[in-house]
């Protein structure tokens, strides 16, 4: 039997190979991706169908006209006029179109990472991993990378779903205030932010370990504080500057959160 030498790169490589095999063989990944495709279709189709309809408050008699989306790209993000107005439009405006957008996926990524990591501890697979290797860094790196790839797939699936939803509902694909490169950098910036969220969720998951509910609770709560900022740093008219800033921020925070996760793993019982 041939065993690869126990070099750092090999140890990391073997763990990653195992994690990716697991991700692509598990139903969780495909269910999540399917949700990410279906969700924008439902949002776009339903808001288009409801657009223009009037609801009346029976007590006050006040009429409210339900607003739909102006174009498909509204589900991906909003155009930043300036830092302050973007903040105003994205963070403060709580209309359905500003809430039901791609940034919701960071909550789904939390669910994905928490289930993925918690399964390691609940199934006892963590024992298989940690009894043959003592370095926890590999585990943290590998899970963050899997979370990143899984999250990127989900974001791309949402993007594809938005396209399909827009085509079904006949919504405009017109780009006002931004170009194709802006859209590209917007999506790329959102994707490069995933490792930061993945390492945050990983950190929460190693705190919760077998307790999935605790991992989820911690992850969703922390995501609440962060996800609004995503729309601010990744507007539809993003530039390379936005992208570079997201890369730098994501790498920096991923390292800090990864180191925290590593420390938690080192100092607590693993089984």
């Amino acid at each position: 039997m041939m065993l690869k030498r126990n070099l750092c790169s090999n140890r990391f490589g073997t763990m990653m190979k195992a994690d990716f095999r697991r991700m692509f063989k598990s139903r969780l990944f495909y269910i999540m991706t399917a949700i990410c495709i279906v969700m924008p279709i439902l949002i776009i189709v339903m808001t288009s169908m409801m657009a223009g309809s009037v609801t009346v408050d029976p007590q006050t008699g006040a009429e409210t006209v339900i607003e739909g989306m102006d174009n498909v790209w509204q589900i991906i993000g909003s155009v930043a006029q300036s830092e302050s107005t973007d903040m105003n439009s994205a963070a403060m405006n709580m209309s359905i179109t500003s809430m039901c957008n791609i940034n919701m996926l960071y909550f789904l990524i939390a669910v994905f990472v928490c289930i993925f990591v918690s399964d390691d501890f609940r199934s006892g697979y963590a024992k298989n991993i940690f009894s043959v290797r003592s370095k926890k860094t590999d585990y943290v790196f590998s899970k963050t990378l899997v979370g990143f790839v899984g999250g990127a797939f989900m974001l791309v699936a949402f993007f594809v779903g938005s396209f399909i939803g827009g085509s079904i509902s006949g919504l405009s694909f017109e780009m006002t205030g931004f170009g194709i490169m802006g859209l590209f950098f917007c999506m790329a910036s959102k994707i490069v932010l995933v490792p930061m969220f993945a390492s945050l969720h990983l950190c929460m998951s190693v705190i919760g370990k077998q307790k999935l509910w605790l991992s989820m609770l911690l992850s969703l709560c922390t995501t609440m504080f962060l996800f609004m900022t995503v729309s601010m740093v990744t507007p539809l008219n993003s530039t390379v500057i936005h992208f570079v800033m997201c890369v730098a921020g994501s790498i920096g925070l991923s390292f800090v959160l990864g180191a925290t996760g590593n420390k938690i793993l080192k100092s607590t019982a693993l089984a």
């Binding site: 039997m1 140890r11 697991r22 139903r27 006892g124 024992k127 043959v132 693993l270 089984a271």
Partner: protein
């Protein structure tokens, strides 16, 4: 060199002391049977060796190096409590994930080979959650054997195994250790089975090893006896007690004589005194009885 060398190992869970100054030595190429009552610290010891729990004191060395050494750790194969498998994945995928984790290059070939060894090749496509307890245990053993480990740590691997499973397990472990390729630390409550394979024993109580011995030493410690059944058991008992110093009654209804020269000696003595012997056999106290005797001795 010793495969495992533990000195003064301490572990507390809050105020509860799980291990106190535990010393344990597993020589290379041996099958070390770790015995002890429930909650005495067997699994805790094994978890510390595998790095799944931190110790509060003492040292653990594997093949002369610290148990945290990355290269030494790669030599371990372990089955602690239950196999670490994903319930919704097939047996094959679970095995392949572990093979990937260990970095086995010709993984598919190896997985097929190991599954054949534990007679699970037919169940490779089954989902793990649909496997029976015995099947799961075999999968756990197969996982521990992947990657040619030099040290196997098995926690209750015989639980749930059928007769065939136990025989396979015996054959695998004996084969591995006879070739000198592997050392085994195995904890089990099925002492009859353990006795057939173990070359060394460690008996634990309250987080300590109270006796460590080789199979040969156990053999020497285990007394031979003559067990008798006769028509009138109470009279037979009185007569045996008159002649022999060490007699008692076993749970299965035999009268045991520990200091008789031979079964013939007992039969002729009873015959002379008008007792007809209906059954007689000569046997040796096994590991199980030795363990029970030792535990009751320690309790006093």
């Amino acid at each position: 060199m010793n495969a495992i060398e533990i000195r003064n190992l301490k572990k507390n869970f809050g105020i509860k002391r799980a291990l106190s100054d535990l010393d344990l030595t597993v020589p290379e190429g041996s099958i070390y049977g770790l015995i002890g009552e429930n909650g005495c610290g067997k699994t805790t010891t094994e978890k510390i060796i595998c790095g799944l729990l931190g110790a509060d004191g003492g040292s653990v060395k594997l093949f002369g190096k610290s148990h945290t050494d990355e290269e030494t750790r790669a030599k371990i194969g372990a089955l602690i409590e239950a196999p670490g498998c994903f319930p919704n994945l097939s047996v094959w995928n679970n095995m392949m994930i572990q093979a990937d984790n260990l970095g086995i290059e010709n993984a598919e070939e190896e997985v097929v080979k190991i599954l054949k060894t534990v007679r699970m090749e037919g169940a490779a496509g089954n989902k793990y959650k649909n496997c029976s307890l015995g099947m799961k245990q075999r999968i756990g053993i197969a996982m521990a054997l992947l990657g040619n480990p030099e040290l196997l740590i098995l926690d209750e691997p015989l639980n749930g195994l059928d007769a065939d499973g136990m025989r396979i397990m015996r054959e695998i472990l004996t084969d591995l250790t006879q070739k000198g390729e592997c050392s085994v630390l195995i904890s089990s409550h099925i002492l009859g089975e353990l006795e057939k394979i173990a070359t060394h024993y460690g008996i634990m109580r309250n987080g300590k090893i109270i006796r460590e011995m080789t199979a040969r030493e156990l053999e020497e410690n285990c007394r031979t006896y003559v067990a008798v059944r006769a028509g009138d058991m109470s009279q037979t008992k009185t007569l045996l007690e008159l002649r022999y110093m060490h007699t008692d009654e076993s749970e299965d209804g035999y009268l045991r004589v520990y200091d008789a020269f031979s079964p013939e000696d007992v039969v002729s003595y009873l015959y002379k005194n008008g007792i007809t012997v209906t059954e007689i056999k000569s046997d040796k106290i096994g590991l199980e009885e030795y363990y029970i005797d030792l535990m009751s001795e320690v309790s006093k």
